[in-house]
């Protein structure tokens, strides 16, 4: 018997109120082809499961220490001594040797306080559907639905496309939060089952885009045109990143592109960069690039919104 189709999900968030209309449940799929240094969910980037470590939850190896003997590869050892915030009690944490770890998950299963967790869970279609349909009364009362997000959900098309289709069959409003950096036929496949695209446009200059995110923006822009031509509805989202795209010129260029997509673009949302997610880099010891910059001021954000509005776009702050 063939193994049942599964999707790799790293989080499911109920009462999601920032990702599309109404009250929504957002399903975050794991893995992304881009490596934006401002990403505030770095655990979404890798397609493989990861061992996530959160020191604030560890109760210390002297009280607990269950994880140490559980590791078949000897990747865990006693780590530094720290003071627990609040109680002030001194505890000894765990040290993870990532080079020996093969993410088997044995330690995480034994770590009750969930200081060690495996990030990335396989869901079958039926399980995931049952999970998100539980909140149907909330969607119905609020004009909400389900948002499929990531990472880049369309990197798991074999799972995500039928998932969207089944949601539509169940009468649920669907939103798809995508980078657009996927093959055109996948986007085409999503079009029929997606009520709203939440579509990131980060930079119109291809070279700058590649330098920051690791990929060129050509495919992204082409796919946006494809959605618009195919009758899709789009909310454009622009993360406003210091010294990357926070100039009038950069934002104006994005605005001009949005205008070129015509009536498909319902709204342009500007998302100010913030660094609240930096803790998450530590959790998976992602040693990749992390942007630590001063967030744009509120006044500056309002200027940029005004700029887009002056072009005739419906623009808001996220």
């Amino acid at each position: 018997m063939a193994k049942e189709l599964t999707g790799k999900v790293y989080d499911i968030q109920g009462f999601s109120i920032q990702d599309g209309p109404g009250i929504r449940t957002t399903v975050f799929f794991k893995g992304c082809p881009l490596t934006c240094p401002w990403c505030h969910s770095p655990e979404s980037q890798s397609f493989a499961p990861q061992l996530s470590w959160l020191a604030a939850r560890c109760i210390g190896i002297d009280t607990c220490g269950r994880c140490l003997p559980l590791c078949p590869r000897g990747a865990l050892s006693p780590g530094e001594r720290v003071q627990r915030p609040g109680t002030g009690e001194e505890i000894r944490l765990v040290r993870i040797d990532r080079s020996s770890c093969d993410v088997c998950g044995a330690c995480a299963r034994g770590c009750y306080p969930k200081a060690l967790e495996i990030c990335g869970t396989d869901y079958t279609l039926d399980d995931l559907l049952a999970r998100v349909l539980r909140d149907r009364p909330f969607y119905e009362n609020s004009g909400g639905g389900v948002t499929v997000s990531g990472g880049e959900p369309l990197c798991q098309p074999k799972f995500v496309l039928p998932f969207l289709e089944k949601l539509k069959e169940a009468g649920i409003h669907t939103a798809l939060d995508t980078t657009g950096h996927v093959p055109a036929d996948v986007v085409q496949g999503a079009l029929a089952h997606t009520d709203l695209f939440l579509y990131d446009i980060k930079q119109m200059d291809g070279a700058l885009h590649r330098a920051a995110t690791g990929v060129s923006n050509e495919r992204i822009l082409d796919n946006a045109r494809l959605i618009a031509a195919g009758g899709g509805k789009i909310q454009i989202r622009v993360p406003v990143i210091p010294e990357f795209n926070d100039s009038d010129a950069a934002i104006r260029e994005i605005g001009v592109f949005c205008l070129s997509l015509g009536a498909a673009v319902e709204m342009v949302q500007l998302l100010p960069y913030h660094n609240l997610g930096v803790v998450k880099y530590q959790r998976i010891e992602n040693r990749g690039k992390v942007l630590e910059a001063v967030p744009p001021s509120e006044a500056r954000m309002h200027e940029l919104v005004a700029l887009l509005k002056s072009l005739g776009l419906d623009a808001t702050l996220h």
Partner: protein, 805 residues
């Protein structure tokens, strides 16, 4: 969009005074009452209480402070509280003798040396004369073997620390008829009975006689205030204030004896009657009822006749709210620990439907929210009744108010409450006219004596301790403060490790719940028997529908509709505990019953690993998991059915599920439980999940709590939800919150209130992260557990939170 308008200078000045004045103790009422009781041992029952009230009205100094327009007070100084030794006084004397009252860390009160000396010299008289002492004499003999269970909290001495309270008068009668007409009616009833007191005629005669006396008291009190205003007017040099004082004198000279003529009359009459009720009965959850419904006809008539401007009316309402906020009463120190903040629970109700089922929203509904929002007062609390036709503008105003005023108003669901009240005997029209009492307790407004706190003293029922007794052969596992463990207080249901199936566990729990519901009701019914002799409430009964017809006080069953309320606590804890026992011990068999039993008896000492596993791996109520939510349903059904089937002297009992703040207090004396809770820590709040255990977001929590059959709990349910204010800042955020409440109400929810996270809360979470593990912050699409963020990010969020408010 709903906007707040600025307050007038006068209102701002009084608000400032309110915020800076330290509460103090005034002995004026105490002195009057003590002399009266000592001089009148021959008087008993309702006449003693009626004459006591009249005597207070004749003697209590009247206080008209600068800038005030709405007047009336129970003490001789601004923000001072009166003393009510007739209810219970022992705890107060003990704290006074210890000298802790001005110094205690929660709700301290100033008191002069002279007053302290006087109270200590005279106070002992009340140790035997108070209601609490009288009740102690009537403790049933069998209860000496059941006290100390921690299921019902009645001891065998000092039983009544708080009065009955928890009622609402019929303010419409007071406003539209006045005490002049009420007195005339009572006199007529008396003359019909003169020389014809057959059957219970003498008792009825005395009731009417008491009504004439208290009516006289209200009229005298009002006239004395009129005279004081006139006196101040004569001395006043500012012509504007002089005119205002004369206007006040005119109003006070007219109201009470006569029907109110204006919005000003109506507010003044309502407040002074409330002061009268508090002077008589001690303020304890004495609520105002449907204020917007009483006031709107007066407001609209004044407006149409050009007698008032909206601005002046709003100012009068602000001044009224400031008077209510100023009221406070001293609580025992242990009680302030769980509910600090000088609260007096004078709840107001707004919105909902009219008696004939139409939307009841009116201009005063909005004015009330304005006052709360712009004055930012902790009191008065407000409850907004929601129904299918609640207008969008009212939703908008209410959500904005809850965001700024931090959880005011609470939201109540007409669609669940009205049928629930009908099920306990109210006819449709009366059920539609319900209001909320004290905290969340629904009651017919002006025609029901529902006694939601129980007669004699307020009381709660601890479901978790019923569970603990059930698995501990009827012994309370929590040692007494002196370390001793008492004998068996419950039924001998055996020990957990002797029970072979989970059904045996359920059966044991059911037996203990039903056994203690039986005791609890027996005791409260006993207190009612005693309290209805010594603490009748003729001033209240003068307006409550049914009493004048029947010639009986509310305490004697005179009101048109009757019930007695109770409330259970620790729903989340008992649900989680049952689920843990079922899944770990009887299904997975991963823990033996003996090991789990030993772990909780040892308060988890040496069993931290098991505790962590339970906290983090076991199913918990509040996460939309039917495997555990079913136990919240089961336990509340067992409790609710037992209470609802019981009767008291005046009719049936009504179950409720809310803690006020008892979950903290009672948690202090509840042993460790299988849900991972340690001994002495708070119990879960209302029907909310156990603290830190709702990890699946608000929609999952709401689906879980909807599993409880809430319409069964006509004495009220309480659900507190914590939100970070940024979730409500945008227009679309507010709409989503409204949809959230609506959906919960569609699912059968009765009540919902919000705890808006403040910057102070976040700072506290930094200090005690253990207590705030579930605190989610959502900033610009980013959501995270606050305590798990880096310090710098936490600081950033605190800053954003401050800016947002």
């Amino acid at each position: 969009m709903y906007v707040l308008s600025p307050v007038t200078d006068r209102v701002a000045a009084i608000r400032e005074k309110y915020r800076t004045a330290k509460p103090s103790i005034c002995t004026a009422r105490y002195r009057i009452v003590t002399d009266y009781y000592r001089e009148n041992p021959q008087l008993q029952g309702i006449l003693k209480r009626a004459k006591n009230f009249l005597n207070i009205c004749e003697r209590l100094p009247v206080l008209v402070n600068p800038n005030e327009v709405i007047v009336g007070w129970q003490a001789t100084r601004y923000r001072a509280c009166a003393l009510y030794p007739e209810i219970s006084f022992g705890w107060f004397l003990d704290e006074l003798a210890a000298g802790t009252i001005p110094k205690r860390d929660t709700d301290p009160y100033d008191i002069s040396d002279e007053d302290t000396r006087y109270l200590l010299e005279t106070g002992d008289y009340w140790r035997k004369e108070s209601l609490s002492a009288k009740v102690d004499e009537y403790i049933p003999l069998g209860y000496f073997g059941a006290a100390g269970s921690g299921v019902t909290y009645f001891g065998t001495t000092g039983t009544c620390t708080s009065p009955t309270g928890h009622f609402v008068a019929n303010f419409e009668t007071a406003l539209h008829r006045g005490f002049g007409a009420i007195r005339a009616e009572a006199e007529e009833k008396m003359s019909e009975l003169e020389g014809r007191m057959y059957g219970n005629g003498a008792e009825r005669y005395n009731f009417y006689r008491a009504v004439t006396i208290v009516s006289e008291g209200m009229i005298i009190l009002s006239r004395r205030y009129a005279e004081e205003c006139a006196r101040q007017a004569a001395l006043e040099t500012d012509p504007a204030r002089k005119a205002e004082l004369l206007e006040m004198a005119d109003s006070l000279g007219w109201i009470m004896a006569n029907p109110c003529r204006s919005f000003h009359d109506a507010i003044q009459c309502m407040f002074l009657y409330q002061i009268g009720l508090c002077l008589d009965a001690q303020q304890h959850g004495i609520s105002f009822g449907r204020v917007d419904q009483y006031l709107a006809p007066f407001y609209e008539a004044d407006l149409a006749a050009g007698r008032i401007t909206p601005e002046r009316a709003q100012e009068l309402l602000d001044l009224f709210y400031l008077k209510v906020a100023e009221m406070n009463k001293i609580w025992p120190y242990f009680a302030t620990l769980s509910g600090p903040g000088y609260t007096s629970g004078q709840l107001m109700t707004l919105g909902g439907v009219t008696r004939d089922g139409r939307d009841a929203t009116n201009p005063v509904t909005f004015m009330m929210l304005q006052s709360s929002g712009r004055l930012l007062l902790h009191d008065p609390p407000q409850s907004l009744r929601i129904h299918k036709g609640t207008p969008p503008e009212l939703w908008d105003a209410a959500i904005e108010t809850t965001r700024i005023a931090g959880g005011v108003p609470t939201f109540q669901n007409d669609d669940v409450i009205i049928p629930a009240l009908m099920a306990r005997g109210l006819p449709l029209e009366s059920a539609r006219n319900y209001c909320l009492i004290g905290c969340v307790e629904p009651q017919g407004c002006g025609d029901e004596w529902a006694c939601p706190g129980g007669n004699g003293t307020e009381s709660f029922f601890n479901l978790l301790n019923a569970f603990l007794l059930a698995i501990n052969d009827g012994h309370n596992p929590m040692p007494a403060p002196d370390g001793s463990r008492g004998g068996r207080v419950g039924l001998p249901t055996g020990y957990l490790y002797e029970m072979e199936t989970f059904d045996e566990v359920l059966d044991a729990v059911r037996q203990q719940i039903e056994y203690f519901v039986g005791w609890h009701i027996s005791l409260v019914n006993t207190w009612e028997m005693v309290a209805s002799e010594h603490m009748q409430l003729p001033l209240l009964s003068a307006t409550v529908d049914g009493c004048m017809e029947s010639g009986r006080d509310v305490m004697k069953g005179g009101a048109r509709y009757n019930s007695t309320g109770n409330a259970a606590i620790a729903i989340g804890n008992i649900a989680d505990s049952l689920a843990v026992v079922k899944h770990l011990v009887y299904e997975e068999r991963s823990v033996s019953a003996r090991e789990l039993y030993d772990a909780i008896m040892a308060d988890w000492e040496g069993h931290e690993e098991l505790r962590q596993r339970i906290l983090n791996e076991a199913p918990h109520y509040g996460n939309d998991n039917p495997d555990v939510d079913c136990f919240a349903r089961w336990a509340t059904d067992v409790y609710g059915d037992a209470v609802n089937a019981a009767t008291g002297p005046r009719g049936r009992w009504a179950a409720g599920l809310f803690p006020v703040t008892a979950h903290v207090l009672f948690g202090m004396s509840t042993a460790a439980s299988p849900d991972g809770r340690k001994a002495g820590t708070p119990l879960s709040d209302g029907i909310s999940p156990v603290q830190q255990m709702d990890r699946s977001g608000p929609t999952a929590t709401l689906r879980s709590v909807s599993v409880i059959d809430q319409k069964k709990f006509s004495n009220g349910t309480l659900l507190n939800m914590r939100f970070h204010p940024t979730a409500l800042a945008s227009e679309s955020g507010k709409e989503k919150l409204i949809a959230l409440i609506r959906t919960y109400f569609d699912l059968g929810g009765m009540e919902m209130q919000f705890n808006i996270v403040s910057a102070d809360t976040l700072r506290r979470a930094q200090e005690v992260p253990e207590d705030y593990r579930d605190l989610v912050v959502r900033i610009a699409g980013f959501s995270a557990y606050f305590v798990e963020l880096y310090r710098a990010s936490q600081e950033d969020i605190i800053r954003r939170t401050e800016l947002n408010l």
